[in-house]
Symmetry: none
Subunit: 189 residues, 4 copies
DNA sequence: GATGAATGAGAATTCATTCAT
DNA sequence: CATGAATGAATTCTCATTCAT
């Protein structure tokens, strides 16, 4: 794979540059030229790898989503709640590890169409839903816990992210443990 | 002498129109002319009441914040956890009651304007922090609950909102009870 | 003359206000609203007395021209050069006495059509031409002085005005005597 | 690699086009699009070379000033009055040779931009002042000639220009000789 | 007559996208 | 492949002018 790899690598470079700029000034205020400058290439060259400005945001999100996926799957063994705890903490760690990509989520949420956010979150809720089922089977849950709690847990994670993005006073890593505890104890029998 | 206009009322009308359009197409895709049309006035007239396009977003948020504030204060009597429950449910109800304004939050988060979001959320966390203190005094909390949990609770609320905005499949009202339960049981002794 | 006088007086008031503003910020940067504010009336009221923004500049110039005319005629008795000296000095005094109107000349020169500047200056040159003829008859002039010198003398006056308007370091009153001397000695036999 | 453009040359082309349009319709009535059309480029391309519409006026004036400077310095040998005569005539010739740039002076005078007109005229007066000093040393001047006469001479030149710009009936070249004579004989002993 | 809210034509400016080199 | 000059559609914002009260 000779050319192909180069192409993908270059796309990745540009996307990383774009994400850095997005995180710094927001998508709305980011010009193609800013991204090009950050990537160290010429403005026109961005179009060799991306179809449009919007494609940069889309691409950034997809890259983020891909890097994120493993958190849902590498949960190891244990009870449902143990594995849920790992999922929550793993997600927070992942977000904290790449704050720029996390910041871009705000722009993604505010943006319109071609991003299948619903699918991503659906998948997320489904993964948590499975853990809840397992935990229920393990007899760990109190009564009345259902798939809506999956949405609440996903929400709690994202919401903590919002807090830290909007108020620098709040640190995502600091919130990890309280968040995990709330999610786990909040449903435990 | 031309009719004396109620500036504040007119500003409110325009802001409401703006919020409807923002909710429909997002702030980024909204043109001043769209807002004017929605408000039934001429493009230039918007500028009689707002300095700039950004001022519409800022104004919308501030109006939202003002309408929201009471949720933090009208919590009635009861134990800390009872009052916390009311706060969480009240916030969700308020958000569910004005979904357009809620949608604008996404644009506000993504924007850079001179909006003191940090102050708003700080206030929110402080209000919850006080309830946690009361609950602790009432002996309702398990050990290790501190002000970080206030951030987590605020986050959980906002995060649920994000879920419902990003995925129409999820309904905010449906999440209200699970969210309240998670927040309350997640910290109860 | 009941209404008529009021109307003319009001026009004069507005014109004076306009000239003050023009002198302060230049015609290009002056808004109808600025003039109204300076005159202490409402924006719309300006249109009760003037047809358009341009009409203010036109009106200002015409008022200036009217106030100026007498300088050409009240020259008293004496030789041609004596009367020329009075004309030059009288013009400078008149300009120095109403610096705001003088400043507006710059905008008038730069403006386009409906102002018959050519006629004004033609009249000016004709008046000076007559004095030159008289002076020639009086035997005061050296050979070769003709109507072109009238243009040069008018130019010298206006040019001194430009100097003082463009460079505050130069005072019109200071230039009066040297200017008069140059104009008179420059053509004397 | 796109052709490397000579920025300065291109700026000059645009400036020349701008000056033609300014001379034709005046700065106030000139739109960026007019300039672009005259230069044979697209509206937006003007902004690749100039920051704003005002910058065109500023740039035009500076170009004019640069092209003009040499008149002050290449005066050759001779007595003070001989050299003064050359200066005056040289200036008139220069103005007559580029009537469009001369017309723009009217707009420059009326404008407020960050143009250091005062400095330019100061330099002009200083140059003439030096010639007056020399002429005085050469014993060519009558008593009472000082630096104020330098201002008057500069004024006379500019004023003649105004005459010709404001009244097409008057030709700058026709005024050259009378102007020179007035300036020289007006101060000669 | 006076007012000032409303209008909307018009202009400056920006910037994503294209394409000749 | 890369570049960056050029384009022009799109948008914000201004302000002269109108007119209902």
């Amino acid at each position: 794979m000779p050319r192909k790899v180069d192409r993908v690598a270059r796309q990745g470079d540009i996307l990383d540059a774009a994400v850095r700029v997005f995180a710094r000034k927001g998508f709305a205020a980011t010009r193609i030229e800013d991204v090009a400058a950050e990537a160290g290439i010429a403005k026109g060259s961005v179009y060799l790898y991306f179809d449009s400005r919007d494609a940069l945001l889309t691409g950034a999100f997809e890259l983020y989503a891909r890097r994120t996926e493993h958190v849902l799957h590498d949960l190891g063994d244990g009870t449902g709640l143990q594995r849920l705890e790992r999922l929550v903490r793993g997600t927070v760690d992942m977000l904290a590890a790449q704050p720029d990509y996390a910041r871009v989520l705000l722009d993604v949420w505010a943006s319109k169409p071609p991003l299948d956010l619903a699918a991503l979150y659906h998948e997320y809720r489904a993964a948590i839903g499975k853990l809840l089922t397992q935990a229920a089977a393990d007899g760990e849950l109190r009564a009345g816990i259902d798939e809506r709690h999956a949405a609440v847990i996903v929400g709690a994670i994202e919401g903590c992210l919002v807090q830290t993005l909007v108020d620098p006073e709040v640190s995502l890593r600091d919130l990890a443990t309280p968040l995990v505890r709330l999610c786990v104890e909040g449903i435990r029998k």
